[in-house]
Amino acid sequence: MTSSLLANLLTEPPGVAHYMTVGAVMFVCGAMCMATKRNALGVLMGIELVLNGANLNFIAFGSKYLDNGGPQLGLDGSLIALFVIVLAAAEAAVALAIALNFYNNHDSIDVDRADQLQG
């Protein structure tokens, strides 16, 4: 079953499935990055990857040139993607400021150093 899915992806002209595959790969890379990086900036990059993976999905679902065989999301998809881009920038700005504040207090942005509070 998996091999037939892969064969379909490789032989058919680009459609929603291809974009979703790229989006899923980006999501998994981002999630792995969040889970394994010890540097706070690395974690933030992982978050950025996850958000953009989701954005790719929104764009693909919203495009009228890519038919997924079901009801179309239309312009909503592109609009949500625009909002998410702005939000991601705002979130990154805040997270970087917080990371800087952490660095000032701990002389490091290694997330393993955040161990005074034991969850």
Binding site: L44, V50, D76
Partner: protein, 573 residues
């Protein structure tokens, strides 16, 4: 329709219909702008920021009162504003009023504890109001975009608030942990949202539920289609984001750390306003995905005959009609009835929320035992209460599935009553912790020993609040718990019966750790070398203003309960 008429209708919809109902948020936005400009304009800079914030919050509270007065929640017609992005109904109106009242109290508390001094005040109050606007969007969201925007707008200022105390190692650590966990959960939630929107071809809740009906889930499940798996996965991912906001197990790690690291005032903000908004959003999503409005023209969908009866007997109140219909249903439907198109969604949501709520409640109560820091203990208590407050949502979805919309709206009303009473209990508790921190520089439970001798009024008020958090009658905390249990009993399914038993057992569990603090304060001897506690008149008055409603609630319990019931009935119009 050409572009001209389109723009005309958009403008009239925005100006005449949407913006008047968006008043409280607009007032808060204006307050934020004034607060930020105050740094630049010398004339404004002379006014203390707390005055501007207080005036803004009170104006927003007045704007949040429904047009026909406080008793008119039932009369609010559910209507979509901003072209379907937000919805304004009784639930929205009630929670907006709740959030604005909380904002006023919170500004007063911040002034009394002195956390927002002249230098930091502008930033602090802008962040608080920004988060409050995000919470208002959460409670009124009707679209996946506004859901995500609301969650982010409420979260991002909260990350900063957690670290607002400069130069404290713990505070910066709490902020970093909160930001990293929060951003991760938001990313996962957004990915789930994208899958959900793509599969259903819409991001508008009422349209999505219509598509879910057309999707014909029972047949697809029988055919073992992969699409169903993707849909379930998307639902789980959206659930991750909501569970993070609710601090539900297994996404609760941030909660105790953030509460311990952040100042007590911010803890109060996160545990009351943020939780209430997240619960309202959970109601929006859970009910929105499982309840089809009677106006939709699907043949044979259950709520339709409510509308039919209402048309023939317009004088009947909605609740009565719904009850009449549910009794009709019980007598006519045969037990082997065909599975409705939304039933798989309902059972998915009920199982998910039910199990998560039991685990959250039990875990919170068990983990609170060993805590030595009072803020950490209250963080676990918040987790436990969040679990408790999720239970009526599961019950409501199950009741909607049985067609008992009146009982479902009772369940939601129980949740709203719980959130309201929780405001007084937890804001009171965190206010006391903040005042005690100012006066004895400690947040350890052992330093509270012998408080009754040093400051009897505060000790008694704190004890009352703790008893109410346990849920002992006749204090206010008991009544919403009773209603939650009642709603779970109504739902009458094996899982929810188990949830009910677990909830009752958890109440008994929680008794021990709350009473331990009460015992430390009232029975234990004062340790040597503790500093005397001196609280100003206003501080004491604030604590009493929080504790008295908890005691006096029993005098007129029907009024607030009636408001919540009217407000909740708007969901099922």
């Amino acid at each position: 329709m050409n572009l001209h008429t389109l723009i005309d209708s958009l403008i009239s919809d925005t100006l005449q219909k949407s913006l008047p109902l968006f008043g409280p948020e607009l007032v808060l936005c204006a307050t934020i702008v004034v607060l930020l400009l105050a740094r630049v304009l010398p004339l404004l800079d002379r006014i203390p920021p707390v005055v501007i914030a207080f005036v803004g919050a009170v104006a927003a509270l007045i704007a949040a009162v429904p047009q026909e007065g406080l008793a008119s929640f039932g009369g609010i017609q559910s209507q979509e504003i901003f072209t379907g992005m937000l919805v304004y109904d009784g639930l929205t109106a009630y929670f907006k009023l709740f959030l604005m009242a909380f904002a006023v109290l919170f500004v007063i508390l911040s002034h009394l504890t002195g956390i927002a001094d002249r230098d930091d005040g502008q930033d602090y109050f802008s962040l608080v109001f920004g988060a409050t606007i995000g919470m208002c969007i959460m409670v009124s969201s009707n679209h996946l975009l506004t859901m995500f925007l609301g969650v982010e707008m409420a979260s991002v200022p909260s990350y900063v608030l957690a670290g607002i105390v400069k130069g404290r190692r713990r505070s910066s650590e709490a902020a970093l942990k909160y930001a990293v966990y929060g951003a991760g959960a938001a990313g996962v939630m957004l990915y789930g949202t994208s899958l959900l929107a793509g599969l259903l071809g819409s991001a508008h809740f009422p349209t999505m539920v219509g598509r879910l009906v057309e999707f014909d889930l029972p047949t697809r499940i029988a055919d073992r289609e992969l699409t169903v798996m993707v849909l379930a996965l998307a639902g789980l991912m959206v659930g991750v984001g909501l569970a993070f906001k609710l601090s539900a197990v297994p996404f609760h790690f941030w909660c105790p750390d953030v509460f311990e690291g952040a100042s007590a005032e911010v803890g109060g903000f996160l545990s009351v306003a943020s939780k209430a908004a997240a619960l309202a959003l959970l109601v929006r999503v859970a009910i929105g995905m499982t309840y089809e409005h009677p106006t939709s023209d699907k043949l044979g969908s259950p709520p339709r005959d409510v509308a039919a009866i209402q048309q023939s007997h317009p004088e009947l109140p909605v609740q009565f009609v719904a009850q009449q219909r549910s009794t009709d249903d019980e007598s006519t439907s045969d037990p082997a009835a065909e599975e409705g198109p939304l039933d798989p969604v309902r059972s998915f949501v009920v199982t998910l929320i039910g199990i998560v709520s039991i685990v959250t409640c039990t875990f919170g109560n068990l983990a609170a035992y060993g805590q030595r820091n009072i803020k950490r203990m209250l963080a676990y208590s918040t987790i436990a209460h969040a679990g408790f407050m999720m239970m009526p949502v599961a019950a409501a979805v199950a009741l909607v599935g049985m067609g008992k919309t009146a009982a479902a709206s009772e369940a939601i009303a129980a949740l709203m009553l719980y959130a309201t009473i929780y405001l007084f209990m937890n804001l009171g508790a965190f206010a006391i912790i903040a005042f005690m921190r100012n006066s004895m520089q400690s947040e350890e439970i052992k330093d509270y020993s012998g408080l009754i001798g040093r400051s009897p009024l505060i000790a008694v008020a704190f004890t009352v609040i703790l008893f109410s958090l346990v849920g002992l009658p006749p204090l206010a905390g008991f009544w919403p718990k009773l209603r939650v249990l009642q709603a779970l009993f109504e739902a009458n399914s094996p899982l929810l019966m188990f949830v009910m038993v677990a909830a009752a057992a958890n109440t008994a569990l929680s008794l021990v750790y709350y009473l331990r603090v009460a015992k430390t304060m009232c029975i234990d001897r004062e340790a040597d070398g503790t500093r005397p506690v001196a609280l100003g008149f206003l501080q004491t008055a604030f604590v009493l203003a929080m504790a008295l409603p908890v005691v006096l609630y029993g005098l007129d319990p029907e009024r607030i309960a009636r408001w919540t019931q009217q407000a909740a009935s708007g969901l099922f119009q």
